[in-house]
Symmetry: C2
DNA sequence: ATAACAAAATTGGTTAACCAGATTGGTTTG
DNA sequence: CAAACCAATCTGGTTAACCAATTTTGTTAT
């Protein structure tokens, strides 16, 4: 158990060292945006790390948009300029692991937006998808079973209906962590009455989106979160 | 040029195939949360793909929180339950590439929040960091040079001051794409008078955060974005 | 029968050799 | 002299062999 975290941290530390070395290389050699980085072989030798570790790190920096690898050609520096590049590197290296509070805070922010956008943009297909998730949640609750998963899937169906793939992606990234923390802190263990209320809230959100009323949808989502919010903050 | 996108899409397509195969495996074999996936060697052979491709895919699914690799032990399925698992897989596979509109929309949402949080939580260190970025921006503008990078770095310093590492991470992810699109569409090419106004807006945001006035900070940020917003929407 | 231990097999991670396509520099040809 | 072409070289991607730690399993001693 402890070892897992240790190796993870070690791994992260190694990767951060490589990131710092790449930053220094770009800085020192005055590499301009669009320039080609030295080949992976050269870099791995120069840095004294395995080529696979280096490739892994490059892939991470590709996610952050700082590098672009082109097959059989080379790895290139993104066109964001040297100053932004150095700033981004600094921030990425200093970035710390998210805590539960940050996750919930972010989730609420994202969902109030996706909800509103979904009301504006949802297609018939989106509605069908949402309805399906809604029914699955209600069924599970009525059976008296745990329904955290179905709950979250309904919210994800809203994110999808928002038509904003960036917001959708962000919701997907935070959702598993949210679920595990919910189960960990037993956020889901609420009484039957409250769960029935939860279904109604979902239905009201769904109806607002169906009727293309963004203001109402957001308002209903806010109410939905209000209970969750105070429940979460009681834990900490 | 065209080839780059082709190979990227091909790569993505291959990865998505592997993701689908992993999903089917979990589904078909009724693997429970916490269960161990077959070894990388077995999977790569079974799927008919290279082990490195498989590892790459596993790493991607680790980012989304669906899998957890433990050295010398195995790859394990996250504790989010089978239903959430299948839903997540579906959404990830259907996720499409973000467009500029989605990026700007997301950015504005994130920044109105980070700005507010920064006003509540900023430390003295954060303030110093922000002030530095602010001055760098003003200097560059006063010299009549392009200052898109400094502009964005000021905004990133606010994200950092928000004390929410998830929001900070999301800002880091979208920023490079924002910069390149800004330069592509020449969003930065505005007249001197407007740039002077931009500096004042930054200063006002900074002051509001310094004075720990979240409402004012958000309001000032909203004004700041109003100009940007209408400018962006004129392009499309 | 059970607990302790050790050896063998299995694991993700690493390294090194290999591949196909892109780049480049020199040569040829109009 | 310039443009076209071709082969040598360099690239990221792939494959296969290797490593160290872990897990399992069989054996032994109590």
């Amino acid at each position: 158990m402890k070892i897992e975290f240790l190796t993870r941290d070690e791994n992260r530390a190694v990767q951060n060292e490589i990131i710092a070395k790449i930053r220094d290389l770009i800085n020192f050699k005055n590499l301009e945006p669009g320039d080609k980085l030295p080949s992976e072989r050269m870099l791995s030798e120069k840095f004294g790390v395995s080529r696979s570790s280096l490739r892994e790190t490059i892939q991470k920096l590709e996610i952050y948009g700082l590098l672009k690898s082109r097959p059989q050609s080379g790895t290139f520096i993104a066109d964001i300029g040297p100053i932004a590049m150095q700033g981004m590197f600094k921030d990425i290296l200093e970035l710390e692991a998210p805590d539960f509070k940050a996750l919930v805070e972010t989730r609420i922010l994202l969902e109030l937006k996706t909800c509103r956008l979904a009301a504006l943009r949802r297609t018939e297909e989106d509605l069908a998808h949402m309805k399906e998730a809604l029914d699955a949640f209600a069924d599970k609750v009525n059976k008296g079973e745990d329904a955290v998963q179905e709950d979250l899937l309904f919210h994800l169906s809203i994110a999808k209906a928002s038509g904003n793939s960036t917001l959708n992606m962000f919701m997907l990234i935070i959702t598993p962590e949210i679920i595990t923390n919910f189960e960990k802190y037993h956020v889901c263990n609420v009484d039957r009455e409250r769960l029935g209320l939860r279904i109604r809230e979902h239905e009201e959100i769904f109806e607002a989106i169906k009727n293309q009323d963004p203001t109402l949808a957001k308002e209903k989502m806010k109410v939905h979160f209000k209970m969750l919010y105070e429940y979460c903050y009681n834990i900490e």
